[in-house]
Symmetry: C2
Subunit: 349 residues, 2 copies
């Protein structure tokens, strides 16, 4: 006999990308930025590192909330701070979808949406992206309590037209989560939607563009009523004092972030061109990673061969993804090593 | 029209104790320790504060898990690390209680149990503690999926006999959470239960005895199968790198923790005696706080008068608690100031 709910018993659980502890690995598998966070972040944490660690943190993460409001040009009451944007995805699912109720997930997309809905024992309808990864037909399902879109989309890197997202938000019946974890690397975003549509939650994270995956800071931007209700669902103290100090300082140093983003965008173009020259089909990316489709050699084989060479990329043995690899934009040296390794693999070495 | 689930719409949300940002307040309201964390904690965070903040943390918080396994004398596979023990309470509710299913909550106890079950839309049966706050009759309810006990109990400070807890665990049908947030301040604990009963989860936190409320580190100790299943429900990266470094270092400096606990236990006895002399009924405490029942002057009045004097204690205007105050054991100076203020209030000054 199991003590677990049947849906928990049956589900697999989300499998995050490998976090190797051995040195010498070229890690292009979980979309971290290769550049360190701002020096101001390290200083802010050092300054916060004192005996006040004995005290609970601010429940609303006010310093982060206020910094985010300034950066995004909204009121602090339109911001909810999460322990990473995964925390905010969890809060959204628990706020809006009851057991057996409908949620809509595009495919392929971020696997955690499915995991969180399985934990909630929701009913999931998948809608397929067309081959160009523009807005999926059928995104607006009657009776959907929650619909997910990620733009730029993980793992394809493709971006949706903000006008199409606005149209979708108006057509759907429940709440739309627009997961913009990678938006700082893109030409467009949907930040203007929460101010005029009361059912849109835009999610941002400091894990990618702000080089703070290790600090766990995510942001939801939405109508004040949505934020107030979701506040009831979040853990009382979901950010610790140190992550909070790091997050506020990072947001206030946008210049550091943007300089890193520029390097990554340039290297994304460079890698895309190199992979195309090698015969891969390169899906046009607006994120800090590139998805390529492998034709000459199976993607799974290239993945395994790269692991042998201490290079980690991401591979899923799933429909629509099993002939693809997702490659995070590392430093130019790391990308050169990757390209050389792929060339060798293609030559059968 | 609301986008929220009806249970979320209707619930109040948990109200944490006030976290004042103004200096000069004597803060005896949220059971923090008045003494700073170990110097080794501050050093460990300083050492972790480097460019690796750009990388995701270890999903299982392995350094904390291994340190906790050593401290508690169990295998690492019997430990789940949470973003505070509140995170682990959330994980337990989502793992074991479906919508409309039964959970048992003793009264009075930690208010978050109710909040989390309301979020889950579970059915709650409350069982009343007897006047001596020993094991409530009716704790073992048929069809209960999850039962909560906190020992020492918040807010009463009273401790249950571990044999009674073991008997309860054997009698109940589902999972028993034994919330031992305050156990380091007590004479007894239930740590031996998870090794022999497969339905018991003991929760610990570093927020109280280890002086790390600001770092958000909680621990679940349970049968390996329970831990494995709950792992599917937790957020992928629920602790950040800095909190993780703090937590592992704190656990490895038990000497620092025990020295602080000894001072707090001595001051608990001192405060209990002083409050009894002032005519309060003092409930015997095994925690780092003391609950007193007020007879001469209404508890709410004393609470408000203390706020006027910049002294925060905890007061609930709820059945069985509305004639009581819960006072965290601060430094002796803080407790002296509290006692002097209470004396003045009783004199009508």
């Amino acid at each position: 006999m199991s003590y677990f709910r049947p849906n928990i018993e049956k589900m697999q659980g989300y499998v995050p990308g490998i976090q190797p502890r051995a040195p010498g690995v070229i890690k292009l598998n979980t979309n971290e930025t290769p550049y360190p966070p701002s020096e101001r972040v390290l200083k802010a944490v050092r300054d916060a590192l004192d005996p006040t660690l004995r005290l609970y943190p601010d429940p609303m993460s006010t310093p982060v909330r206020e910094a985010a409001a300034t950066v995004f040009g909204v009121t602090p009451e339109m911001i909810l701070v999460g322990n990473g944007s995964d925390d905010l995805l969890t809060i959204a699912v628990r706020s809006f979808v009851g057991e057996g109720e409908l949620a809509v997930v595009p495919n392929p997309s971020y696997g955690l949406y499915t995991t969180l809905l399985e934990i909630q024992n929701a009913r999931i309808t998948y809608v397929e992206y067309p081959d160009d990864f523009s807005m999926p037909a059928g995104i607006a399902q009657p009776r959907a309590k929650l619909t997910f879109l990620s733009t730029p989309n993980n793992p394809t890197g493709t971006s949706l037209d903000p006008d199409d997202v606005a149209d979708a938000a108006e057509a759907i019946s429940g709440v739309l989560v627009v997961d913009e974890a990678y938006a700082d690397f893109a030409d467009t975003n949907c930040l203007e939607l929460p101010g005029r549509l009361d059912n849109v939650i835009v999610l941002r994270t400091l894990s990618k563009s702000y080089s703070l995956a290790g600090a766990r800071v995510g942001l939801a931007i939405a109508d004040e009523e949505l934020i107030a209700g979701m506040t009831k669902v979040k853990d009382s103290y979901n950010l610790d004092r140190l992550g909070m100090a790091a997050g506020a300082a990072a947001l206030l140093d946008g210049e550091h972030m943007r300089a890193n983003v520029e390097r990554i965008r340039a290297d994304r173009d460079w890698l895309s061109a190199r992979m195309a020259e090698l015969g891969f089909e390169v899906i046009p990316s607006q994120a800090n990673f590139v998805m390529v489709r492998c034709t000459a050699v199976p993607a799974g084989t290239i993945y395994e061969e790269l692991v042998q060479r201490n290079i980690l990329v991401r591979y899923w043995d799933k429909p629509r993804l099993s002939d693809c690899l997702r490659i995070t934009i590392g430093t130019r040296d790391e990308l050169n090593a990757l390209v050389a390794a792929v060339e060798a693999i293609l030559r059968g070495e």
